[in-house]
Amino acid sequence: MIDVSTVSEVGNLGVATTINRAAYLTNLLSLRSPLTDDLRWLQEVRDRATARVQELALPSTRDEEWRFTDLSSLLATEFKAVSGEPSTISQAAIAPYLLPEAANRLVFVDGIFLPELSVAADLPANAFIGNLTAAYREAALRDRLLNQLGKQPGAEETFTTLNTASMTDAAVLYIPSNHVVEAPIHLLFLSTTGQASAITHPRCLVIVESSSSLTLVEDYIALDASVYFTNAVTEVWVEANAQVNHTRIQRDSQTAFHIGKTAVSQARDSHYTCNAISLGAALSRHNLEVYQTGEQTHTVLNGLTMIADQQVADTHSLISYTQPYGTSNQVHKCIVDDRAHAIFNGKIFVPKAAQLTDARQLSKNLLVSPKARVDTKPQLEITADNVKCAHGATVSQLESDEVFYLQSRGIDENSARKLLVYAFAYDVISQIPIVSLRDTLAANVRVPHRKHGSIA
């Protein structure tokens, strides 16, 4: 964390950083790759976003939306363009991350789609899983791409715009009406040292038509630890009566930067579940936005942040109601060790038209070290008068009485602490509908070290 300077210094710094912050984004734009000939149609979309990026500056802690998350470390890091040949990755290298349950997967390495590692099989007729280039070749999909790529509300946000302006490809999932896709679809975004200090802009477009159902895993992975910047955007369209179960795992390297957007539009009677797990990155931000476009939608947001050392992990969520009879249930948990800092800001908008909304939000935080920090802020804006909205936030430590209770049953102190932290995390992990992924994550629940002279 940067210490607060004296007033006059802040003033001077302010001018300097404003220039830096604007130039910084323009500099990031210069690192993008050109579009391939197959994606010429995308040029206009990129150009529009480019024009907008040039008017924007990197947010500072003076912006309310970034109050607790200081991007100075991002500003101070120099990134490079992805260049040359994509890293060669063997099947064996990704094997530890593959999910036996997933019949289909798309693999992107340092932002580049690798068809040889990807599998698209056993799909319902007319469904599509592939990259943007291939998607555009499908005549039936063209209108969908033109009308829905980059068209979610909130697309004008700084990093989303930067992603759109830099887009060179995307993962596209399209499930036509009345199909249940049973096996989960796995989207892997891998970062390698082959592209050191790279900035990548992963992009996903997911369209699930009426009465269809999809289970999706979006997975950000570091193959070897290095400094890089992942600026991801995922757009999910859940059409009438459709169901999407979306698990998002951010396990980038501990020295990486990760800024991710998940924008979801939910049509009437649809169900959307997001299990968002944030483990990696020195600095990460997840903007999770759900927009209701029809009546009686159901939204479940399960979040888990597990960080240590000096990691900073920020989750900003939004559930924006516009219609009656919507329900949502959100639980966000943070386990914060060492000097790490977790931030949660949960917005729920319930305007007058959204009568009979039932929205619940709970933020639970476990601080495992005395230097750990969490900032949590529920933000409910309700103008409808006949709604149920409940929210709560707790911040706690491992109680010495809890640890002692387990010890008094013969369980050693480290195992006791592990069991208690595990129990706290498992509550969220257990919501993931894929057993192998659940087990992997459960096995990786951080064990806080015994720290003498601090919390027992």
Binding site: E402, F404, Y405, S408, R409, I411, E413, L419, F424
Partner: protein, 262 residues
């Protein structure tokens, strides 16, 4: 049952202890032999619960003097978990809730820690389940509680039954029951007391810490000790509990004051 010459399980001499710099125990002496049931009674704040936590090894309490010998070993040199594994069991006054850990898993981990300590092979989930089912009867517990998170949402009585179930499973050499009777209705009290009686043998010992004589109608003690200001001031048979119930604790203070005056 008092048997001459039976093994000394616990021997406490001149024990003094602090919590946050305040002296709570001021020279406590107690000897417990195999087969015996000891009741420790006394007013609130006399140090009964502190004593039980020190026996189990709670880190918040600092022993400043005296000694505790358990089966010939210096108990104070043994970590809390190793005390448990070697047969010291504390039934908590306020059992802790552990959301997210199923009661069965918790019991199995605890049971296997002890097996491992004894150099025995750990039981797998299947064999353990069989063992656990056989122990449920001791406290007449509904098996549905096994799948729930440890103590989460349990009533006071259910939590205490769960403590005795753990005792049944771990088969301690020395069981300390810290106000296990508090907050129990008469039916639950009978069940809990029945469980303790069933688990008692000539090889183990029980220390009951209680505020009320009521429990002692169901678990008959060999000795009743009265604690006052961090020491045991009077020791008697089971009739002492009845006298305390009828007369309160003040007469003990007066007798003690007279004794000191003499």
């Amino acid at each position: 049952m008092i048997c001459e010459g039976s093994e000394v399980i616990l021997s406490v001499r001149d024990l003094t202890a602090d919590v946050d710099g305040t002296q709570i125990l001021k020279g406590l002496n107690l000897e417990v032999k195999a087969g015996e049931i000891h009741a420790i009674m006394g007013p609130n704040g006399s140090g009964k619960s502190t004593f039980s936590k020190i026996l189990a090894g709670h880190p918040d309490y600092t022993v400043t003097g005296g000694e505790i010998t358990y089966l010939g070993q210096n108990l104070l040199e043994i970590e809390a978990e190793d005390r448990a594994r070697s047969g010291v069991f504390l039934a908590f006054q306020y059992p802790i809730e552990i959301p997210g850990v199923s009661n069965t898993d918790f019991l199995r981990i605890a049971y296997n820690s002890k097996r491992k300590h004894e150099g025995l092979e750990e039981l797998d989930a299947f064999d353990f389940d069989e063992l656990l089912q056989s122990k449920l009867n001791v406290v007449k517990m509904n098996p549905a509680f096994l799948n729930r998170s440890v103590n989460e949402g349990f009533s006071g009585g259910e939590k205490k039954r769960n403590e005795i179930l753990q005792m049944a499973l771990l088969e301690p050499k020395l069981a300390i029951l810290d106000e296990t009777d508090s907050g129990l209705d008469i039916d639950a009290l009978k069940v809990v007391a029945g469980g303790v009686n069933e688990l008692r043998t000539s090889e183990n010992a029980v220390v009951l810490i209680t505020h009320y004589q009521r429990l002692l109608n169901y678990i008959v003690p060999d000795y009743v000790h009265v604690m006052e200001s961090g020491r045991i001031v009077t020791t008697g048979g089971k009739d002492l509990a009845l006298e305390l119930e009828a007369r309160g604790y003040d007469w003990i203070r007066e007798e003690e004051a007279e004794a000191i005056a003499r």
